[in-house]
């Protein structure tokens, strides 16, 4: 009898809408301290979760089952959001001032990167229990996960790259690489998880670390790309995460130049530089690598340009709205979602025809994060 009752209850709870998360995503509504949950199949908003604090420069990583989104807020907030239930599972303020975070290869650890106090803090991904920390005494930028439950990041003030092996979460092991260049502002791990590249603000070039051989230190790539010319002002820092790896090439925003730099991954030489409309912020490869989409800093932040990788030139100029902050492709690349902060909208484009498929109202949207990131190294 008891068993029967239990089964009836179970049936009662479980019936309505079982579903996967593969076509879901999360959009930051940054001024509202809220996220919008979206579905890319029907291109609709399916819910909202509020109470997430200061979401300027917020970023998200996903649990390995792609059910939970970990939202890192500027105010040090770390929130675990249940995407299916559209609710906060757990939330804590883990520091005074944060910049982002990452999740470990095995999915057991979530790590927050902090400006104040500078360093990283390691949490249990299930419970958000604090496990350990690595203080740096410098602002942490460009954190990314790497194979071996490692986390790699750069130190803006100190000009270093640190590799933290968190295999034993309570006692993380640190490898420090010094003299990597002036003022690294962001960094990313290549899709294969082998290389970490940090962009430098204080000089023309990028720092490259082979994660198979951290003992070899960092080497400078694309050094002197500015050719000694006076840099143009940069009204928004470029972002390197959300890399643009298309075949053997990496597409990277130049600093202080209205160009996208193309780095050849075979010999790390400059393959091309492509003139674009303004200071690039994100350069993101469409899955498949045929095209790279670029957005820009003020005053060109109403534009998105599309680079054809074969031709190495801009082939399309779009105007998705005012203050385009981010773009994200569906996993197979047939759609791209673009946030327009000042038009309070997320526009969805067909990547083959460039036709606008949908426009979703959202309050000052910034980052767009689709659950396919759960399965990608460096995201």
């Amino acid at each position: 009898m008891k068993k029967l009752l239990f089964l009836a209850l179970l049936a009662g709870c479980a019936t309505p809408d079982l579903r996967g998360t593969g076509d879901l995503g999360v959009v930051i509504e940054r001024a509202a301290g809220r996220v919008m949950l979206v579905e890319t199949t029907r291109r609709t908003a399916i819910g909202r979760v509020a109470g997430l604090g200061d979401l300027s420069h917020a970023s998200i990583v996903f649990s390995r089952d792609a059910r939970y989104a970990y939202v890192f807020g500027r105010d040090g907030g770390l929130t675990k959001v249940d995407i299916l239930a559209a609710r906060i599972e757990k939330r804590l303020i883990q520091s005074g001032n944060a910049i982002g975070g990452a999740i470990s290869q095995d999915g057991r650890l979530v790590v927050a990167a902090n400006y104040t106090p500078g360093g990283i803090r390691i949490f249990d991904a299930g419970t958000l229990e604090f496990l350990s920390e690595v203080p740096t005494g410098s602002k942490v930028v460009g954190i990314a996960d790497a194979p071996g439950n490692r986390f790699v990041f750069s130190l803006f003030d100190a000009g270093e790259i640190w590799i933290v092996d968190a295999s034993i979460p309570h006692s993380p092991q640190v490898v420090k690489i010094k003299d990597i260049g002036k003022q690294p502002y962001d960094g990313f791990v290549t899709p294969d998880g082998r290389h970490y590249i940090a962009g430098l603000y204080g000089e023309d070039g990028l720092a490259l670390v082979d994660l198979w051989h951290p003992e070899r230190g960092a080497r400078r790539v694309l050094a002197g790309y500015g050719r000694g010319e006076e840099p143009l002002p940069v009204f928004k820092m470029p972002h390197l995460r959300g890399w643009a790896a298309a075949g053997r090439y990496l597409f990277l925003p130049a600093i202080g130049r209205h160009e996208v730099l193309v780095l050849d991954r075979v010999d790390w030489s400059e393959a091309a530089r492509i003139p674009v409309r303004g200071q690039p912020v994100f350069a993101v490869a469409q899955p498949g690598g045929r095209r790279v989409w670029v957005n820009f800093a003020l005053p060109h932040n109403d534009a998105v340009q599309v680079i054809d990788v074969d031709a190495m030139k801009v082939v399309k100029d779009l105007r998705p709205g005012r203050a385009v902050l981010h773009l994200e492709f569906t996993p197979r690349g047939e759609q791209v979602w673009v946030s327009s902060r000042d038009d309070n909208a997320v526009a969805v484009y067909d990547t083959a025809s460039y036709a606008e498929l949908a426009r979703l109202p959202a309050e000052n949207p910034s980052g767009i994060f689709l659950t396919s990131r759960a399965a990608m190294t460096g995201f």
Partner: protein, 104 residues
């Protein structure tokens, strides 16, 4: 008559504060500071890659110097020159607003 009253009010405000931006422009400036300055200084201006712009952090800083940094940037740091977007009066107004706490 209404227009006259409006003009008088405008004159009166012009007399008190030499060249404060008009209210519509002020709203734009507040938005610019929150959103665009906020991408480095934080939406709540508590700081990020750039330092805090909260009143406490601004209190002991010279207004003229702050105005100069806004318009001309700061060498050796990512702070860019905003003179292409702002007039001197607007930069001065922003400094005053930050020192008092930026309006909501």
């Amino acid at each position: 008559m209404r227009r006259l009253a409006g003009s008088l009010a405008l004159l009166a405000s012009a007399a008190t504060a030499a060249a404060d931006p008009v209210p519509a422009r002020r709203a734009e400036l507040v938005e610019l500071v929150r959103q665009d300055c906020g991408s480095c200084h934080g939406l709540t201006l508590k700081g990020g890659l750039g330092p805090s712009l909260e009143p406490a952090a601004m209190a002991d800083k010279d207004a003229g110097q702050l105005e100069f940094v806004i318009l001309h940037g700061r060498r050796g740091t990512p702070m860019p020159p905003w003179r292409g977007f702002l007039t001197e009066d607007e930069a001065r107004w922003i400094v005053e607003a930050l020192k008092q706490g930026l309006p909501k």
